[in-house]
């Protein structure tokens, strides 16, 4: 396995991307405030904490192939109609792999040594979900959704006594399918299972599209606007 050009140059369009990301972050923040204030006042909300093991896919496997169970997410979503929710999701996933003899190749030189490689991703998403069944009737509540936002990515490696680190903000996208399993007589909490396909437009260190699969197992609570529950 060969890993080339660890210090890739910044692309000329990076500034534009950064501006776009800043604007997106602002949009997400404003959406969060609006949703939190309007949502809690007028609609039910679902708050979820999940553990999220992940498996690298595609180009990312050139760097780390090993699946990880180090990941979690916290999300909140609000019903905007009977079957549609919109919300926010913050995630963290940490990949790690030690290679006994890893070759790191760059212009005019190469190093082979034991390598400790890490990949961390913090996506911050706005999302929307569509439920296929009505909230109060079904035993299982399957849904499909889409997350969009930005991700803070930290890729680093220690090869022998050399180290490199590459931190960046990237646009990220994550379609998901899953189901909620309501529990309790009042169905006010339950379990949430989902599979999410993570994509970030990375274009660095020989990884064009950063891809991995999340398997999420979580717990959720429903919060009702005052006066609506009974």
């Amino acid at each position: 396995m060969v890993f080339k050009r660890p210090w890739s140059n910044l692309h000329t369009w990076l500034n534009n991307v950064q501006i776009m990301i800043i604007m997106m972050k602002k949009t997400i923040l404003i959406s969060l405030i609006v949703l939190a204030s309007l949502g809690t006042a007028f609609s039910q909300s679902i708050w979820t904490l999940s553990m999220e093991p992940s498996t690298p896919l595609g180009d990312m496997r050139n760097f780390i192939e090993k699946s990880t169970y180090r990941g979690f997410s916290a999300s909140a979503s609000w019903f905007v109609s009977e079957r549609i929710t919109v919300g926010l999701n913050i995630q963290w996933t940490g990949f790690y792999q030690k290679d006994e003899r890893y070759t790191w190749t760059f212009d005019g030189a190469a190093i082979t040594a034991t390598a400790w490689k890490e990949f961390y991703m913090w996506p911050l998403y706005a999302n929307a979900r569509y439920y296929f069944l009505d909230e109060d009737e079904a035993r299982l509540l399957p849904y499909a959704g889409l997350n969009m936002g930005v991700a803070y990515i930290d890729q680093n490696a220690k090869v022998g006594t050399y180290e490199f680190q590459d931190k960046s903000w990237k646009f990220a996208l994550a379609p998901e399918v899953g189901t909620r399993l309501p529990m309790g007589i009042e169905r006010s909490w339950g379990f949430n299972f989902l599979i999410r396909y993570q994509m970030a437009f990375y274009n660095k260190n020989e990884i064009d599209l950063l891809q991995f699969l999340n398997y999420s197992i979580g717990v959720y609570w429903k919060i009702y606007p005052r006066g609506e529950r009974y």
């Binding site: 760059f106 212009d107 030189a109 190469a110 082979t112």
Partner: protein, 243 residues
């Protein structure tokens, strides 16, 4: 069951935080590196023949005379290293010749046994010193390093600091351009020693260098397994050398 939902987040957090750790280097082997650097503008296919010196160069600042003698004893580290570099280049498809005048390049094996508390950076060929002292067959130096003041042939990627591993010895293999070496020898014969800075002396050209750390143990004895693995790794890093 009623309290289960309050317990779950804490279990999740405990699981996640307990999993955040990274293995530190535990053994010498973990920090042993094999590195190659080469002149990206040079066509290695232009080389066909090579010559090897009669023994391995040694650079050390701590080995005793007895230890040095054992390195140069028959069948010792020096002989084994020479054999390894010779076999490596033969295996790549180059032809060994007996005289410097017939050779396209000199396959130079050097063993660095240098103790230092600090990271030592060095560039190819830096230990050769000035031409008057000379690099010779079977030459070695057992005192502290001295520094080249000669303008080196500089192609080394500036982003790659190369360190000398001090605890286990580092093997350096180099392809020294034979023509450049012959020019330096000719120049030496016509210039007084030491030369004046304005003499515009010729320089050595080193087009390929490999460093294998963990090549020998502290006392200079040969670590066959690591040496062979390291040389193999260096050759795998350098597919452009294959004839």
């Amino acid at each position: 069951m009623k309290h289960l939902k309050y317990l779950i987040p804490f279990v999740l957090i405990a699981l996640i935080t307990s999993s955040c750790h990274k293995d530190p280097p535990k053994t010498y082997d973990d920090t042993d590196m094999t590195m190659t650097t080469y002149n990206t503008e040079f066509k290695f296919q232009d080389y066909t023949t090579f010559v090897v010196p009669d023994s391995t160069l040694l650079k050390t600042n701590y080995l005793t005379d007895a230890q040095v003698a054992s390195i140069y004893a028959e069948g010792g580290t020096s002989d084994q290293t020479l054999d390894l570099i010779t076999q490596s280049f033969l295996g790549l498809g180059y032809t060994q010749v007996d005289s410097l005048s017939q050779a396209d390049f000199i396959a130079v094996p050097t063993l660095l046994m240098v103790q230092s508390d600090e990271t030592v950076y060095y560039s190819p060929g830096w230990w050769w010193g000035y031409p008057g002292y000379g690099w010779g067959w079977g030459w070695y130096k057992s005192t502290n390093y001295y520094y080249w003041w000669y303008p080196p042939y500089y192609w080394y990627p500036p982003t790659v600091p190369v360190t000398v591993s001090t605890y286990t010895g580092t093997l350096v293999f180099e392809m020294l351009d034979a023509e450049s070496y012959r020019k330096v020898l000719d120049w030496e014969n016509t210039h007084p020693d030491p030369p004046e800075p304005e003499d515009n002396a010729p320089t050595y050209e080193i087009n390929w260098q490999a460093q294998v750390q963990g090549y020998s143990t502290d006392d200079g004895s040969y670590n066959k397994e690591r040496a062979e693995r390291g040389v193999q790794e260096a050759l795998e890093q350098s597919p452009y050398l294959v004839k």
